[in-house]
């Protein structure tokens, strides 16, 4: 209950108002504490949630960016549905865009132009919707690889990794079904590629294509069908999975980077209320503001420039949105392989790229289970790995990204060729070879870099920071003065786990032995307390010699003046 201390009549007005303010705050608290509690058990909820601790790190913001751009997508998308007409009926365009006046276009295309040009704020919301979709997918990918490289997918979070993975796939479906809706030449050719890919599926391909398009391509049904998928099915699935993602996040509590005082049994950070309410809540407005700024100043997907869909024209430089690029790259790199067996066609030039895309995604989805099978580690992990402490995992992640990037670059080979004046055939050959060579190279280089970083940090723990101050002893020997690490800084460098290869037998299969050898053959053992003691003893001996010469004064001669 709110109680106010009666202010003395002589009190200054400032203290009087602050007492009244305190009273108001307490009343608010009482509403949350008692009034809501008696009706919806609000107090328990507040007690459970409000002081939950979240750790602080810039790399934890990517997931937030994804969440917030999804909210922006919902808001701007709702606006767009008020004006967009998902119909393929033909109309004559009579809007303000002069070059297309009199053209026969679909209602979908016409309503897209109408809401862009003639509806107040329409273009802004349409551009915000498109930009937010691009940001959504960027954030999902970066978030996913933050989780991958820090090992946040380990037990108990394997299922949440799969939920996040599904969100990434759904994001791609949402994006593709969305940018196909305006029924312009560019997106129509994207649908044509989907039609071609479906037809390539043995036996059922042509049936699937007929069912999706409601007859032959392009038909009259695909836009209304994609509309239902885009504004109902996919967003509902995304919302549901986001809910699961966040419930699991609360259940598991957030992971944290290694640091002094941080363990697998605690979480160190700031409370949800008030600090994270302000920080994360404020961050939503920052993301919204930045997307609004970009949309105000930068045009995107001007479908009027491409024109209404017609199966005959297409322009060079036909690229999908960035997150779909990689699915186009394989189609450009694959040689024209196709064979006929008993009179039936197997189109490897489409089936192989699709199989590769499936394998890449499957690897990502299954990686937590693969790794836990290799390590045999069934502990709960809440303290993250530093990427350089897991050289093989980091190498595999970088190799995966390099394949993804090569596929995405291959999908832009015509643009690269034009800008850099290169032959498109040479570029294609470069990528064809590169997709086999570069990931292996990237894996090897990344792994060696990680091992070097481990070695460097090991050195740092044992010998401290080099101060660049050198002392010459009387016999001419040079000694550099080292500043030892304090125990807090040292902890980060010595806390990590060490794994070693297993030998086959005794419940270890030869396959698993080979896998552990691949993962842990090259290892730099973390510093042990005994090693540190020995190094300290050595350093103490050196310090003794240095101090005898300098008298404990480490300032250099020029500093003394």
């Amino acid at each position: 209950m709110a109680t106010t201390t009666p202010t003395k009549p002589t009190a200054a007005s400032a203290s009087g108002s602050s007492a009244a303010q305190g009273g108001r705050m307490m009343k608010l608290g009482a509403v949350g504490g008692a009034w809501l509690d008696q009706r919806v058990s609000g107090a328990g909820f507040v007690k459970f949630f409000a002081r939950k601790i979240f750790p602080d790190h810039w790399s934890f913001m990517f997931g937030e960016v994804a969440l917030y751009s999804f909210v922006i997508l919902l808001i701007s998308g709702t606006f767009l549905t008020m004006f967009f007409v998902p119909s393929m009926d033909e109309v004559v365009y009579e809007g303000i865009y002069a070059p297309l006046q009199g053209a026969h276009v679909s209602r979908a295309f016409e309503s897209t132009l109408h809401l862009s040009f003639e509806v107040k704020g329409g273009l802004l919301f349409r551009q915000m919707h498109h930009w937010a979709a691009l940001v959504f997918m960027v954030a999902i990918f970066v978030h996913m690889f933050r989780v991958f490289f820090t090992g946040a997918f380990r037990k108990p979070r394997e299922l949440n990794w799969l939920v996040g993975f599904s969100l990434m796939i759904l994001g791609m479906v949402a994006g593709f079904s969305g940018y196909s809706l305006p029924d312009d030449v560019l997106s129509g050719n994207g649908l044509r590629v989907v039609d071609g890919l479906m037809k390539a599926i043995p036996i059922v391909g042509t049936y699937l294509s007929m069912l999706l398009f409601g007859g032959e391509f392009p038909g009259h049904d695909i836009i209304p069908r994609l509309f239902t998928i885009h504004i109902l099915l996919v967003p509902a699935a995304i919302l549901g999975l986001i809910a699961i993602h966040l419930v699991l996040l609360v259940l598991h509590k957030h992971t944290q980077y290694p640091g002094p005082g941080r363990t697998d049994r605690n979480v160190v950070g700031f409370p949800l209320f008030p600090v994270y309410t302000a920080k994360a809540g404020g961050f939503f407005f920052l993301v919204f503001g930045i997307i609004a700024l970009v949309s105000a100043t930068t045009a995107i997907n001007g479908v009027w420039i491409y024109g209404p869909y017609d199966p005959s024209p297409v322009s060079a430089g036909s690229q999908p949105d960035w997150y779909m690029l990689w699915t186009d790259g394989g189609l450009r790199l694959i040689p024209g392989w196709e064979f006929t067996i008993f009179g039936y066609v197997i189109s490897l030039n489409m089936l192989i790229p699709m199989a590769i895309y499936g394998a890449l995604l499957a690897f990502l989805a299954l990686y937590p289970f693969i790794e836990s099978w290799v390590t045999g580690d069934d502990r709960e992990h809440h303290v993250l790995d530093l990427p350089y402490n897991t050289p093989v995992r980091t190498g595999l992640g970088v190799a995966w990204i390099s394949i993804y990037v090569i596929l995405a670059l291959a999908a832009t080979n015509d643009l690269i060729g034009m800008k850099l004046h290169l032959s498109i055939n040479d570029l294609t050959w470069f990528f064809r070879i590169g997709i086999f060579v570069i990931p292996v190279l990237m894996f090897y280089v990344t792994k060696r870099l990680c091992l070097s970083m481990q070695r460097q940090r090991r050195d740092l723990v044992l010998h401290g920071v080099e101060t660049s101050k050198v002392v010459r002893l009387e016999d001419g020997e040079m000694l550099e003065i080292h500043e030892p690490l304090n125990e807090y800084d040292r902890w980060v460098l010595v806390q990590h786990d060490d794994f070693r290869p297993l030998t086959a037998g005794n419940g270890v299969s030869s396959l698993r032995a080979a896998a552990t050898s691949f993962f842990f053959k090259d290892r730099i053992s973390p510093v042990t307390p005994a090693e540190l003691r020995e190094a300290m003893a050595h350093a103490g001996h050196e310090k003794h010699e240095i101090d005898a010469l300098t008298g404990g004064d480490y300032t250099t001669p020029d500093q003394r003046h």
Partner: protein, 352 residues
Amino acid sequence: MTENLDGTRPAKGVSAIAAKEGGGFPNPGLPPHAHRQGDHDRGAEKRAERIVAVMFLISVLGTALFIAAYFVFTPMDRNLLAEPGTLHAVRWSNLFTGLGLAISMFFIGAAAVHWAKTLMPDEEVSEERHAIAGSPETQQAAADIITGGLAESGVGRRPVIVTTMVAALAALPIAVLAPLSTLGPLPGNKLHHTFWKAGLRITRDHDGTPIRADEVAMNSIFHVMPEGLDSETPDYLEERAKAAAVLVRIDPALGKNQSSLDNGYEGILAFSKICTHVGCPVALYEQQTHHMLCPCHQSTFDVTDGAKVIFGPAHRPLPQLPIEVDAEGYLVARGDFPEPIGPSFWDIHKDK
């Protein structure tokens, strides 16, 4: 070594974790807290408070700009900087509504974050984690409930019911196929035939005028459609998607494929415009080399050699439309394409 570092054993199998010699280093605990300037300097605190307040005020100005833009920078009515109903008006409208929204949003966020960073407590708090798994008693109780419930239902004792239930549940999903089948027609022979028929004149795409053989200059290209295929035709776009073709003229002496030349007329050749890879229009023609290039995935076809694939992911040549000249000198088709156009599919080589 088969034990986890914390002394527990993995539930099954062998762990690859290496033991830490001497148990490793002890965790030193949270480091001492360093205070911010605003925590002890009253001036710095006041300054931070003012900055937050100013940023909230800027947001209010942004909201005002957003609303004002709806009245003075509209695309169709009043616009201070451009004539209404023009693309310029649209651009100004977009810019000012967008800037207003951006300012109003961004500065709420910036104010809140600055408030949290400078004025709210920044001392890190540690919270215990609870084990995710329940106690062994809870796990046992859950197992008992499940086994008990299964026993009460008699699943183990009544195989007939279980078998029939599995049959019913397995059969039901097949029912989904029935509504799915209504989504579209069966392929039938639709993919094997196009609008082209013997005697149909070859017309320019879009204006629909027929083409005389003597109008086709050497090395030129025409994008063509069959005569009579216009917006009145049923399934207009579907027919266009299959019938689209190009007409080129090459010097017959350059021809490497006699049967391809025979299907043309004095070096005038007609090919399907739909790529045999995934169906993009093969819209780019290099006049010097007589190569046709698909801009989607760069399949390259040699027109002098029956549109054979010479680079890229396509496998089959572009189907050639056999042509001749009618009595009035106009180019006409001698029939449909001899094989299905566009992307390959399972039964493309079957006659239908």
